[in-house]
């Protein structure tokens, strides 16, 4: 899958859930390229902003969309890496800010 196809497929499936890509398109494409790179090196699309350990089971929580996306969108309006934003942030109803790491450190190998 190339990056354009990935962009279109995710845009459609995520917007149906009320979740949007970041408006910074350069950032979005940089992150999508990184997801494809991780798919190539690990076999799954691990979050580009987290350290994957090349074990699908151990990294299950950070396979994009990660399990931390939902609480981060709710609390900060964006996910940790910044790929996805909530409808409120998309509509400029809230301001974007720093999103701290939520993943427990014992999951990092």
């Amino acid at each position: 899958m190339n990056v354009q196809d990935l962009y279109q497929a995710l845009k459609k499936s995520q917007e149906a859930k009320g979740i949007y890509f970041n408006k910074d398109k350069d950032l979005v494409f940089e992150l999508l390229e990184a997801l494809l790179l991780n798919k190539n090196r690990y076999g799954y699309m691990a979050c580009p902003c987290r350290l994957a350990c090349n074990d699908r089971e151990k990294d299950r929580d950070i396979i994009c969309p990660c399990v931390y996306r939902e609480p981060d969108l709710k609390e900060y309006g964006a996910c940790f890496c910044g790929l996805y934003v909530s409808k409120a942030l998309h509509n400029n109803e809230i301001e974007s800010g720093y999103v701290p790491e939520r993943r427990p450190p014992e999951k990092i190998f």
């Binding site: 990184a34 790179l37 902003c49 987290r50 350290l51 994957a52 720093y98 701290p100 450190p105």
Partner: protein, 84 residues
């Protein structure tokens, strides 16, 4: 200008790490750059312990400027620590 001892612990794919690297370069800062996802075995383990000692969450980027540790791409804090 005082010489700072700066290390950037990063992931090769991470956007916040790339922004941090760009900022340091634009500020003409000399820095040690470690891409942790490219490390394996004992080397990786040692670096992870080093990061966890400074940043228990072990998130990226972690930036060490002299004795100051900054977690995440926080431009203002990074510049303050660099004295610029």
């Amino acid at each position: 200008m005082t010489r700072n001892n700066t290390t950037l612990y990063a992931l090769s794919t991470c956007s916040h790490c790339k922004s941090t690297k760009k900022l340091l370069s634009e500020c003409n800062v000399e820095f040690n750059y470690i891409e942790v996802d490219d490390l394996e075995g004992e080397e990786r383990k040692a670096i992870l312990e080093e990061i966890k000692a400074m940043n228990p969450r072990c998130s990226f980027p972690t930036i060490k400027i002299n004795d100051t540790v900054i977690i995440g791409f926080k431009e203002k804090e990074i510049k303050e620590a660099l004295g610029i």
